[in-house]
């Protein structure tokens, strides 16, 4: 019973965070703001969904696999958000430099 309740709480929290990332992607007016909203919310949401899967599956070997996926996502999602912000920042700086000249 407690296990089912934990699974439901983690799944709902994760998918609400994913929906929050989608709403932030639509509502924000700036590209840097969109990248900011998406990098945080989607990382946390996917990790929460995977923790729900971890509680739901009972065998021990798949827990290690899920831990691998969680580590991979925690490593890569912030890096991709940072890369997009880096590209946008350098683009705007380059434009300002060409305007000054």
């Amino acid at each position: 019973m407690i296990r089912e309740l934990l699974i439901c709480v983690f799944l709902l929290f994760g998918s609400l965070l994913m929906l929050l990332a989608g709403v932030g992607l639509i509502r924000f007016s700036d590209t840097l703001g969109r990248a900011h909203a998406l990098a945080k919310a989607s990382t946390c949401g996917i990790c929460s969904l995977l923790i729900g899967l971890w509680i739901s599956l009972t065998d021990q070997a798949s827990a290690l696999n899920i831990l691998l996926v969680i580590t991979f996502i925690l490593l890569t999602f912030p890096i991709s958000g940072h890369l997009v912000a880096f590209l946008m920042y350098h683009h705007e700086k380059r434009d300002e430099n060409s305007k000054d000249e």
Partner: protein, 101 residues
């Protein structure tokens, strides 16, 4: 209880995918489209997690790993290409800006 939560989470993730497809279609800059593609791949991973809970099988964990890997490499490839071709990035951004104003 779990099946109701799974249905609700499916609808939330489908709404997230729809919102990011809207941003993918009308994003004013090329960087917005890259971000929206990132969120689409993340919500696909979330949908695979929900399917794996519903069918109670651990075989989909490798598929989640491959999906997130492909989304990350897509983002890195686009950012590397646009960073090494600044003229192309500037041209695509400026055309869109003229349409908006």
């Amino acid at each position: 209880m779990i099946s109701f939560t799974l249905t609700l989470c499916f609808f939330l993730l489908i709404a997230t995918t729809t919102l990011s497809v809207v941003r993918l279609l009308l994003g004013p800059r090329i960087v917005d489209r890259i971000i929206a593609f990132d969120l689409i791949s993340a919500s696909m991973v979330g949908i695979i997690v929900l399917l794996s809970i519903r069918w109670e099988t651990p075989f989909f964990i490798e598929i989640m790993l491959i999906f997130s890997l492909l989304g990350f490499f897509g983002t890195v490839a686009f950012v590397y290409y646009l960073y090494s071709n600044p003229d192309r990035l500037r041209r695509w951004t400026k055309e869109r800006k003229r349409d908006d104003s």
